[in-house]
Symmetry: C2
C-alpha cells in the first residue's frame, strides 16, 4: 500500500489515493498512477517521497509499506495544501537493553550491588504476603555457562502479569488506571508500619529490566503464580532483539511458554544448569526465578573477587528487613520481632572452588548499620512530618571517645588512608572529627537503603556558631543517624537517590517531635536542641 497525493494543481478534493502495490514493479506502478489520477500520456509529472527524493526504479524498491508520495509537476513544486503522512515511532529495543547501562552508575562505585538490589526489591515485594518464611536467593553459577539467578518463594506472576512485567515503564500505578489493569491488581497503598518496612519497593516498571540487562544480555523469567498449576516462562535477549530487527519483525512480539512445573523438555543441551533450576520447581507452591545469562565478564570478575564487599553492601541495603525494626542489636531480647523472617541467601559456585561459598545476609555483622547500632551509647528518636503526609522516623546515635578509645565506627566500605605524619594538632583534630566529612544520616525509603542520598545534619543537631560551655564542640561530630521515610518522598527510578527529601525536611512547615523512649530518653537533651 502506498498513499499518493496529487498536488500538481493544488486541488484539495480527491487528491489522495491509496494504491495497492503488491507485486507491481515501478513500470506497472507508473501505469497505475496514470490511470488512477487520469493523467494524459503526454503530460509530464514526477513522483517524489516526502523528503523530495524522486522515485525511480531503485527508490521504488526501497519504499516501505505505508509510504506517502507526492504527485507533482516538478520535483520542487510547492505544496499547495498540507499533506498528512502516517508514521510509527515505536521505541527502539535499546530502551529495554541499554537503559540500565546509563542509569546504574556512580563514578568510582561498582553499580552491581544496586542492580542486584533492584531484583531483590522485586522479590521482597513478591514475598510480602507470604505467611511462612520469605526466601530470596541470589545464586551465582560461574562453574559452567555463567548465570546470575535470583529466586524467591513469593506469589509469582500469572502469564498476564509476566507480559506486563516486560512492558517498559508500565509501573504499578499506571496499571491501575489504564487498559493494562487486566492483571486484576489495582494498586493499593500499604498500611503504615513502623519505619515503613512495608516491602512496597517494586515500583517503576523499569527496575527489573534495567537491572537484568545491566548484569547480562539475556534474561529468562520463570514464574508460577499461586492461582495456577502452570509455570510461565519468558526470555528477553539482546540477540533475539537484534535478530528480529534484522528480519524486520516486530521486536516487541514475544512468546510466553506455559508448562507443567519441572518440565524442561524445551531446554537445550548446553543449558544443563537450567534443567537443575526447573527440577526444583516440583512441589513449590509459587515462585519466581530471574535467570540472567551472557554476563559481562567484568561483572563476573567483580562478583567473584569482591564477594565479601558487595554482600556487605546488600546486607546494608536491607539491614532493617533482615533484622527487624530495631536492626542488628547483638544483645537483642528474644522474640522481639513478630514478622516472618526474611532470608536473603547468596551463593557462589565457581570452577576453581570445589564447594560453593555462601552467606545469609542476616549473618553479616560488619555492615555499617550493625557497627553503628552496637557501638552507640545512647540513642535519641524523633519523628518528622511534612504537610503532604510525609512521615520520617529518625534515630540519632551517640558514639563517644570513651576511656581513651574511639567508639565511632569506621566505614568498612572506605579504604582507610595511610596515617599522616603524627603531630599533636592533627591528632586533636581527628579526635574531634570522628565522623569526619561523613553526613550524619543514612536514608531508608520504605525500609530500603537509598545509597546515594545522605543528610548531613539538621539545625537542631548542628554545632552552633557560639560554643556553649556545657556541651563541648566535639560532641557534634560524634553522631550517626538513620532516617526512615514513607513513600510520600520520591526516589529516582534506580532508587539510588531521593528526589526531594532534603528540601522537604528542611521546609519550614515540617515538624520535628521527639519520640519518648522510656528507658533511655533524657528530656534535658531535647531542651538543649
Amino acid at each position: 500500500m502506498i498513499t499518493v497525493y496529487d498536488l500538481r494543481f493544488g486541488k484539495p478534493q480527491d487528491s489522495k489515493k491509496t494504491l495497492q502495490t503488491n507485486d507491481l514493479d515501478f513500470h506497472k506502478f507508473l501505469q497505475l498512477v496514470h490511470m488512477e489520477f487520469v493523467i494524459p500520456l503526454n503530460q509530464k509529472f514526477v513522483l517524489v517521497t516526502t523528503d523530495r527524493t524522486v522515485v525511480d526504479y531503485g527508490k521504488f524498491k526501497e519504499l516501505q509499506n505505508g509510504s506517502t508520495l507526492y504527485l507533482l509537476q516538478n520535483q520542487h513544486q510547492d505544496l499547495a495544501v498540507a499533506v498528512e503522512e502516517s508514521i510509527h515511532f515505536v521505541p527502539h529495543y535499546n530502551t529495554l537493553i541499554e537503559s540500565g547501562t546509563f542509569e546504574y552508575f556512580a563514578e568510582g562505585q561498582e553499580a552491581l550491588p544496586c542492580s542486584l538490589a533492584e531484583l531483590v526489591d522485586n522479590s521482597l515485594s513478591a514475598t510480602a504476603k507470604n505467611t511462612g518464611v520469605r526466601m530470596i536467593e541470589i545464586r551465582l553459577m560461574f562453574d559452567k555457562k555463567p548465570a546470575v539467578i535470583v529466586l524467591d518463594n513469593g506469589c509469582g506472576m500469572t502469564s498476564k502479569q509476566l507480559n506486563n512485567w516486560a512492558v517498559y515503564r508500565l509501573s504499578k500505578f499506571t496499571r491501575e488506571n489504564s487498559t493494562f489493569k487486566s492483571d486484576q491488581q489495582g494498586y493499593v497503598s500499604p498500611e503504615p508500619v513502623p519505619r515503613s518496612l512495608n516491602s512496597d519497593i517494586s515500583y517503576f516498571g523499569v527496575g527489573g529490566k534495567h537491572a537484568a540487562f545491566q548484569i547480562g544480555e539475556s534474561v529468562r523469567m520463570i514464574s508460577k503464580p499461586i492461582s495456577s498449576p502452570d509455570v510461565h516462562e519468558l526470555v528477553l535477549s539482546k540477540e533475539e532483539f537484534q535478530k528480529k530487527e534484522q528480519n524486520k519483525e516486530d521486536v516487541y512480539k514475544g512468546t510466553i511458554l506455559n508448562r507443567k512445573p519441572g518440565d524442561f523438555s524445551h531446554i537445550k543441551g548446553n543449558e544443563a544448569f537450567l534443567q537443575d533450576i526447573i527440577r526444583e520447581e516440583t512441589g513449590k507452591h509459587s515462585f519466581t526465578a530471574v535467570v540472567i545469562t551472557a554476563i559481562c565478564p567484568e561483572h563476573i570478575k567483580y562478583l567473584k573477587q569482591d564477594f565479601k564487599e558487595w554482600t556487605r553492601k546488600l546486607a546494608h541495603f536491607y539491614h532493617y528487613y533482615i533484622h527487624g525494626v530495631d536492626g542488628n542489636l547483638q544483645n537483642k531480647p528474644q522474640g522481639s520481632n513478630g514478622s516472618p523472617a526474611i532470608n536473603i541467601l547468596v551463593t557462589l559456585r565457581d570452577k576453581s572452588s570445589k564447594s560453593p561459598i555462601g552467606v545469609n545476609l542476616r549473618n553479616v555483622n560488619d555492615d555499617i548499620q550493625t557497627l553503628y547500632i552496637n557501638s552507640a551509647v545512647d540513642t535519641f528518636e524523633f519523628k518528622a512530618t511534612t504537610q503532604e503526609g510525609g512521615i520520617v522516623d529518625g534515630v540519632l546515635r551517640y558514639h563517644p571517645f570513651l576511656y581513651d578509645k574511639e567508639t565511632y565506627p569506621k566505614d568498612p566500605n572506605i579504604i582507610q588512608a595511610p596515617p599522616e605524619d603524627d603531630n599533636d594538632e592533627n591528632e586533636a583534630a581527628v579526635m574531634n572529627q570522628a565522623r569526619g566529612k561523613r553526613d550524619i544520616f543514612e536514608c531508608f525509603w520504605n525500609g530500603r537503603l537509598i545509597p546515594y542520598t545522605t543528610i548531613s545534619e539538621f539545625d537542631w543537631c548542628r554545632q552552633p556558631y557560639k560554643t556553649t560551655p556545657d556541651l563541648p564542640p566535639e560532641c557534634y561530630s560524634r553522631f550517626s543517624g538513620v532516617l526512615f521515610t514513607n513513600d510520600k518522598f520520591q526516589v529516582n527510578a534506580t532508587k539510588q537517590k531521593f528526589m526531594d527529601l532534603e528540601i522537604k525536611l528542611k521546609h519550614r512547615d515540617t515538624l520535628f517531635i521527639p519520640v519518648p523512649k522510656v528507658q533511655i530518653l533524657d528530656y534535658s537533651l531535647w531542651d538543649k536542641w
Copy 2:
C-alpha cells in the same frame, strides 16, 4: 482470532487450532469448539485462559484478539505439553513522557537549566555546519498560552529524520548500524578540534524527548531541512497518548504534517502564537523549532523569577561555545577566533511586563568561568591522554590573595552564608581556603559543561603531606581549573555526570604532559609538581 490448544488427552499433534471469532457470541464459539475438536456432546470439557480462568459468557467478551485458550477436561488439569502464548510488550508511552521527570533532577537544584540545555545541545549540533552565523533562540512566551520555544537556523530535519527523532533510544550510533539508517546519515566521528568544541553533543536519542516532557506535556516539532522546500511538523502530547490508549489505538502511530513554509491553516484559534512562529518561516533556508506547551506552572514561576540565575547557568554550560576556546577574556585580542559566531538568545515575554526582556548569553559576564578567567594571574596548561584514545585538555589557574584583597572569585550560584563570628583563627583559615570545599576542576565534554561532575585535584596539584619551605600551603587552595574532554569519555544520558572520567584520569597509564604557553609558561613550576 483465538488460539485453542486441546490438552485434554495430552496429544502433541493437531492439538492447536486458531479459530475465527468474528461476531461469534460465546454460545456459537462453544459450538465451533465442539466441531473443530470433534468433541461428542456428552463429553465434558472446560475452556480456560492461560491464567486458568474459566471462560464463560463474561470472560469471553473480555478476550482480546490473539488470546490463547486451553481446552481441558477440568480447570486444574496439568499441561501435558508446553504451550506457547504469543504476547506483545511494546513500551508504555510513559517511556516518552515520564522518563525526564526522573532523569533530570538533582536534589535542591532546579532541573530546568539542564533540560533547556539538552534542547540547546540539539540546536548546536544542528547548526554545526552552518557557514554563517549560528542562531539559537529560547523564547519564553508567557503572555498568552504559555509556551517555551527553542528555535535554530540549523540544517533542519527531513520527515524521515523527524520520524526517527520521535523514536526513543534511537541514538545516532544505532541509526548507523540498523534498519533505521534510511535517513542516509551514517554517523562519522568529528575531526579533533581544540578543546573538543566540535558541537557533537546531541547523542543518545533520549535528550530531546526527556527535556521537552520535563518542561511541558506537549511538544510540537517544526522543521525545514535544507534539501526540501517543505516544512515538517509533528506533535507528541500526553493528552494524545492518553486518548489513543483509551481508544485502544496504537499509541506510537502518529502523523507528520508536510506543508509549505508559512502555511498555518491547520492551527486552531487559541494558538495564535503558533501562527506568529509559522509566519517567520517564509524565506528561511532551513530551521528547527521545538514548541513546548502545557508547561508545568512551577516551571513558569521559576523561569520568570529566576531568569538571571538560569540564564547565567546556561551561559556557564556553553561558555566556550559562545566565547571561543579561550573563553570570555575581557581584554581579548581582536579577531582571535576564526569560527562562526554562535548566538544563544533568551527572551521572556510576560503578561505583566510591557516589552519582552532578553539576553544574549554572550553578554553574561558573571558566570563563574568568566570570573575565573579574568581573575587568574597565571595559568598552566596541560594535556592528559588515556590508553583508549581519551584526550583531555586542562587549564589550571592561579588566584592569589593580592595586596590585601581576595582575587579568588565567589561562585555566583552559591548563596553566601552569613559571616561567622570573627575570630582570628577563622580568618586565617578562610584566607588559606579561598577555594574552600570546592573542587578545582570543572569538566566540559565536547566543549559543553557537565554540571555535576567536578574533579577535586590531581596528585601533582595536591598539597603534599610534608609542606615544602618554598611553597606556602595556602597556594594549593588558590587554584581553579577546567578540563576539556573528547568523546572517548562517557557521560550519562542526561549529560549531568561523567561516567568514568575520574577513574580514567587517575589510572596509572594516563599520561599528563605540560603544554608550553610561550607567553606565560614558567617551566620551573612544572619541575615542582
